[in-house]
């Protein structure tokens, strides 16, 4: 590649503004505006002049997998960047084998997800959305005040996963007078919150459970029937992780049977499908996977991706490496 020419990269990510921002700095091969099939696109990329791409930005939410076939199709790739914290769509083993470095979105979404979790908790405990429906249906003059909610102060909040998101949630809820407990793979010496080595014990001593962990083999259905029963009939679950962190069937049953008091759910096992039983409940708040979706986080993602790419092309370490 000639000196002074911007480096080439592949992007597989919907969203015109993202591509436009990258085009200002790089030579972009954009799948979503190519009109080609995935195979044709990758083959064309591999044959691109003046030079084939050494980096790829690949959307985490879509059907693309960066696997052996993908890497074989574009052997020039030395760097893969995910648009999310998650890298489930990237075969890390294959990348490691080939010496391909991998980066994720770091903490760009963490603040918004934490804010949404707190907003959902206030909503569930203080019945904001339910009372809003009451007002909009004209029931306030007819039925008098809306039934009382429950105070946040003094509630024991058990956070499952004390990573960046969990820590931001903890800081916010402390200002509301909540007591913070947590479960994580290992305890963290730098925090003063009480650690529980397993989620069942955490649930037994908590009034609220907030799921803020990644999804992997260990955390699939980490909230299940036993955990919900341990949480108890005044308990509330907030899920801003992944739908599969919670056994959705168990959760619906627990709500139907009054085994827990309520839930705030931003994620579901089979999005955009949501169990019909939940739609009829007033003690749940349901949002369509919006916790990270603000214009600020989109712009932060763009800036962050550009910084990772610039680091890679300058031969420097990635800002938020997953591999190595």
């Amino acid at each position: 590649m000639a000196l002074g020419e911007p480096p080439s990269l592949i992007i597989i990510c919907p969203g015109a503004s993202f591509a436009a921002a990258l085009r200002q700095r790089f030579h972009v091969l954009d799948f979503f505006s190519s009109g080609q099939s995935p195979e044709a696109f990758l083959a064309a990329a591999a044959a691109a002049v003046p030079g084939p791409p050494r980096a790829a930005v690949v959307w985490a939410g879509g059907p693309f997998r960066v696997d052996a076939a993908f890497l074989d199709a574009v052997p020039s790739l030395r760097c893969v960047i995910s648009t999310a914290a998650g890298v489930d769509h990237i075969d890390l083993h294959e990348c490691a084998r080939r010496g391909v470095v991998v980066a994720n979105s770091g903490n760009v979404y963490s603040t918004d997800v934490a804010d949404h979790a707190v907003g959902m908790l206030v909503d569930v405990l203080r019945r904001v959305s339910a009372a809003e429906r009451f007002v909009r249906h004209g029931l306030w003059p007819v039925q008098g005040g809306y039934p009382l909610g429950s105070k946040l102060g003094g509630k024991r909040v058990g956070i499952i996963g004390l990573g960046n998101i969990g820590s931001l949630i903890a800081k916010r809820l402390q200002a509301f007078g909540c007591v913070i407990y947590y479960n994580s793979r290992t305890s963290k010496d730098s925090v003063s919150y009480k650690y529980f080595p397993n989620v069942l014990d955490l649930a037994s001593e908590s009034d609220v459970l907030i799921v803020a962990c990644t999804l992997n083999k260990e955390t699939r259905h980490i909230v299940n029937k036993q955990v919900l029963e341990a949480l108890g009939k005044d308990g509330v679950v907030i899920n801003v992780g992944r739908g599969a962190n919670v056994d959705e069937v168990d959760l619906v049953h627990a709500l139907q049977e009054g085994k827990i008091a309520g839930a705030g759910l931003d994620v579901f096992q089979n999005e955009p499908k949501v169990p019909a039983q939940l739609l009829a409940m007033d003690n749940v708040v349901l949002t369509p996977h919006v916790a990270a979706q603000t214009s600020e986080s989109r712009s932060d993602l763009c800036d962050h991706t550009i910084r990772n790419l610039e680091a890679f092309f300058a031969g420097k370490p990635l800002l938020t490496p997953v591999l190595p």
Binding site: D115, R126, F134, K151, L286
Partner: protein, 316 residues
Amino acid sequence: MESLGVLMLDPMDDYLKQELGRRFQLLRLWDAPPDRHDDFLRANAESIRAVVTGGGSGADAALIDALPGLEIIASYSVGVDRVDLPRCRERGIRVTNTPGVLTDDVADLAVGLAIAALRRIPQADRYLRAGQWKDNGDYPLTTRFSGKRVGIIGLGRIGLAIAKRGEGFDCPVSYYQRRDLAHANYTYYPTVVELARNSDVLVVACSLNEQSRRIVDREVIEALGPRGVLVNIGRGGHVDEPELVSALVDGRLGGAGLDVYADEPDVPEALMALDNVVLAPHMGSGSLETRTAMADLVLGNLEAHVLKKPLLTPVV
């Protein structure tokens, strides 16, 4: 405990009603039909020495004048803007309210309404329940709450509690009130308009009196602007409601989270038609824990009065 004759103006709260009935000679104004209230008061005037009222009912001059034996008015609220305080002072009638115990709940709801308004939580919930996620795809992007400039009108107990919560979200906090508190962490503005101009979220957290009536007027609303959000957990009377509605409809104000209105429980149709507002039914203190604590404060004040001890939370 001697038999203090207590008149309760409306049902308010079951626990409070039961305890008043247990501890005192309770008369319930709503036992008489609305058009016989005057007769009821006349018939019982001699025995009524205390009135228990709520924030909305208050106690006006007509009521106070109808009760020659009245010694104390205990309000089940922190706001006493509807109690004729000058008339009480003239008559030597004590007045108590319920400060402190509801501070956290009101502050929690204020911040909850701010997040709900900016992140559109009730709207997104509505979208999902209406099947739109399946039919129309993703809900549109909203705007981040953390880091937004929070301006608070009134830095009293509730205002300070809101400020503390705002700090947890790294929100720069500023405030307006008559007195500059020279607070280390919060910026003072000497006028509400300047506060609004420098805020993304403007929260009304002061008491309602002659100076603060309609303190949020057209000028303040426009200074807050097309991306600004107004949160009102004070009183409907703090805001010029027709101006608020018009600004929201026109887009001169970005959004609002409201717990109080000019004429509760009636919410203007024009507000109900908007998607950029979150509407709550005056439930700032609406948790079981807090309402119980408020009731206990009402009962405690009445008992202190009977025992000739200092009142717990006197206003007059």
